[in-house]
Each structure stands twice: as structure tokens, then as C-alpha cells.
Symmetry: C2
Subunit: 233 residues, 2 copies
DNA sequence: TCACAGGGATTGTTGAACAATACTTCAATA
DNA sequence: TATTGAAGTATTGTTCAACAATCCCTGTGA
């Protein structure tokens, strides 16, 4: 411990590394993962007793985790009946797109004030998606698409928007599990994603916004149709 | 009970009327109210034991309520240290305005597609504020201002945006308690609120958006200055 | 001044208990 | 047959008590 402590300041912030988390949060993370990747089907009931036994946590802790995920709209809590995996409908998809339009378009248009690496993050997501396509990894394409739109939202440089986008896209992915999802749903959008990214990198933010708006119209339309057309046996 | 049950379908949905709520939610509502109106000072610590005794609820139930409010950013939960009333800083105010700009400006610009009564709700909030001013009810002016901006967000007709706006404005009100808040902070904005409303009613949505953007710049600037200027003894 | 070792207070988590509510089953009735 | 009603069962809602883990304060010693 010499007097010069400069190197300490130069250390990268430990950040969340040592931010211990409560059991409830870890359980919530676990459940969130299972919900997003489809292991827990929409509408499925989560029994407090059975899940508690499975995860080796008490009912009280489990209920705290439920509150977390309920607030994220991934679970719905019906009083005296239990908690269920949310089952978004067509109206929910429409509403999610309303919010996405507001946030993502604003983010793209705010491009000139975007943080330094923000555009690069978008590009990274584009390549991540193209890499997944090259390997026929459809699951990976979906994940990359989520990362792509989170990165778009990140152009605002707003922690609150980032958090909202995270939730919104998680819920959207859940909605995706409701319908009979063709595995290559997102593949057609990869080229469009790249096109928008190129515009961003070139500084043509308004044009990029128009392109993105076009994407929203098409993707929403396709999703809603997938919801309403087949009565879903 | 005749065979024709048509009239049942015609009945208005009972909706939330009989949606009983859990104790945790009622406690959360109670705490939220106290936080918003300033009864619980920012930074104050909420002892599980004492609050539980005060409200006559168990620690477990209280903790569920804490999770709710933590997710709304009104409380911060520090592991093994307890929960505290959030104490937003200047960066938080800046971030809240980033999100408000994205949502409210998008809402105003979406005016043509707005639900029927939405614009009227904005007008009602304007008059609510003017009424409060006439009576020198400064608290009422603040409340009316919140209602006004919630109504602006309501132009999108999106439940998710509505919910987000609710949280955002509650948090903003909390930030307001941090600084030495002049009681008539919002009074100067009443006329501007009316001007924007008139533009909405006239269908000049883009002009209204420009006016609103101007409001954001001025209000944010004033708030941030109030935060950073006086070191706040 | 600093380091460090108690000791007290608070949170984190559990498990059990009981009340309240929902779901199921089945008999009774029209 | 279809509907009502009355048990009985399973699950959630909430409380309580207990204990471990952690923090915070304080005093001691160097």
C-alpha cells in the first residue's frame, strides 16, 4: 500500500461483479430464461409448491421472484389462482409495436447525439445475426435480432430506455412462442437490418428511421397475421 | 333465467371492480402515495420491522411490496442493507427527460390516430391546472401537470406507454422533492400547456410537438440547474 | 491514526401453520 | 339432460418464529 493509489482508479469498475444478488433475483433470472427460450409454454401454471421444491427455495422467496417477473409482463398473477406464463395476444403485439416505434424511431433520429460506441454495437449485432444464418442457427438469429434492436434503443444512451427495451423484447419473444413460429421468421430481415446499420454508420439517420419504420410495418403485419389467421389448434 | 342470454353479453365488463388485490399491492399503493406526496423523504430508510408493525403486515408481505416499488424505481434495494426511498440525481432527471421526449413527442405526432376522447382528456387536465392556480393550490398544480402529461402520453392509446408514463412521472415527482422546490414551479408552464392543447384540438400536431419540445428543453434546464446549483445543505 | 476484534441490530431465507379461496366431485332436482 | 348445491380437496394468501449472514458501531491496542 504505497501512497500512489493511481492504479486503483484505473481499474475497471467491478460493477455488478460483486453485487451479490438475492435468491429471488437469481430465481427470477432462471425463470426468465426458461420463459424466453420457450421451455415454459405460454399459459403454463407455476405452482408455488412444486417450483419451490424444484429450485430448493421457500415459497416466500419464490413469490418475490414472481413479483419481479409479473412487473415485466412475463408472468400474470391471478389473485387466489396462481401465476401463469403470460400469453400475449394480437392486441399485445400491436401495443408492443406502438411502444417500439416510439422508442426505436426516436433513438435512430437522435443518432447525432448517440454515445460513441453505440453505432458499433448495432453493427456487431448485424454480424452476429449473419453469422448465425451462415450456420443455420435459427435460434441464434432470433437472439441476434433482439440484440440488434436493443442496440438501436441504445442509441439514446438512456438506462431507462435500455431497461424498457430489454423487457419489451423479452415479452415480444414470448409472444413469438404463442404462434406457430416458423423457425426462419427473422431471416428475411437480416439484410434489412444491415441496410439500416449502413445508413446509421453513414450518418443518414433520418433515412435510417424511414427504413426502420418500414420494417415495423411489415414485421408487425406478419406477426399479427400469424396470430389471427390460424385459430391455433 | 330464460334461454335468451344475449343481454349478458351486452353487460359492460365488470373489469377491475371485483379484482380483489393482494395485501402487498395495497401496501405498495400506500407507500407509493407517501413517497409521491413527500411524506417519505428521498433517501429515507424503510425498516422492515418497524413498517411491518406500523401497517400490521408481515415482513414477507412487506418485502413483496418493496419489490413492486423497487421495479418502479421509487425504492432502491441494497442487498443486506435495506430499502431506501430513491434519491434521483441530475443524471436521472436528464434520463427521464430523454424518455419523456421519446414517448410524449411520438404521442403528439401520432395525434391523427389518437383515440376519440384522448385530446379531451388533455383539455380536462389543462382546466384542472388552471382551477388549482385560481385557488393558489400549488400542490394541485403539480398534480394537474402530471395528469396533463399522462394525457399527452395517452394519445398513443397504448396501455404499455400509459403504464410507463405513470411510473416516469411518479419518479419525476420524487426527484422534485430532492431539490429545494419552489412551490410555484409548474405555474409558469400552465399557459404553455394550454397553448399546446389548443394546437392539438386544432389538429396541428406537428406544431404542437415543436412546442412541447421547447417545453422539455426549458423545464429540463430549470430542473437540472435546481439540482446542481445549490449544493443542497 | 489505523487496524481489528467483539457485539448488537437488521436483513435474507426458511419452514410450518392456518385462513381464505378456488377447483372437483357427486348427488339431488327439475 | 342440464343445472344447482353441498361437501371435500388442493392451492394460494398471510403470518409467525427461527436462524444464518451481513452490516454497523464501538472500543481496544498498537
Amino acid at each position: 500500500m504505497t501512497a500512489t493509489g493511481d492504479w486503483i482508479d484505473d481499474l475497471p469498475d467491478a460493477g455488478d461483479d460483486l453485487e451479490r444478488s438475492s435468491t429471488a433475483e437469481r430465481v427470477a433470472d432462471l425463470l426468465r430464461g426458461h420463459i424466453i427460450n420457450g421451455a415454459l409454454a405460454p399459459g403454463a401454471r407455476l405452482s408455488e409448491e412444486r417450483l419451490g421444491r424444484k429450485f430448493r427455495v421457500s415459497r416466500n422467496t419464490l413469490r418475490e421472484a414472481f413479483r419481479l417477473l409479473g412487473h415485466e409482463r412475463l408472468l400474470v398473477h391471478e389473485f387466489n389462482r396462481g401465476v401463469f406464463v403470460a400469453k400475449p395476444g394480437a392486441e399485445d403485439v400491436v401495443d408492443m409495436f406502438r411502444m417500439r416505434r416510439a422508442l426505436e424511431l426516436a433513438a435512430v433520429r437522435s443518432g447525432p447525439q448517440a454515445p460513441a460506441e453505440a453505432v458499433g454495437t448495432v453493427g456487431a449485432a448485424v454480424e452476429q445475426g449473419e453469422g448465425a444464418r451462415a450456420q443455420g442457427d435459427w435460434e441464434g438469429i432470433g437472439t441476434a435480432n433482439m440484440a440488434y434492436h436493443r442496440a438501436i434503443g441504445g442509441l439514446l444512451g438512456s438506462p431507462r430506455v435500455d431497461e424498457t427495451m430489454r423487457q419489451l423484447l423479452a415479452e415480444l419473444r414470448l409472444a413469438f412462442h404463442v404462434m406457430a413460429a416458423p423457425r426462419d421468421f427473422y431471416a428475411p430481415y437480416l439484410d434489412r437490418n444491415r441496410a439500416i446499420y449502413e445508413l446509421l454508420a453513414a450518418g443518414s439517420f433520418d433515412t435510417a428511421a424511414e427504413e426502420l419504420a418500414g420494417y415495423f410495418d411489415i414485421a408487425e403485419n406478419q406477426l399479427v397475421r400469424a396470430f389471427t389467421a390460424p385459430p391455433r389448434a
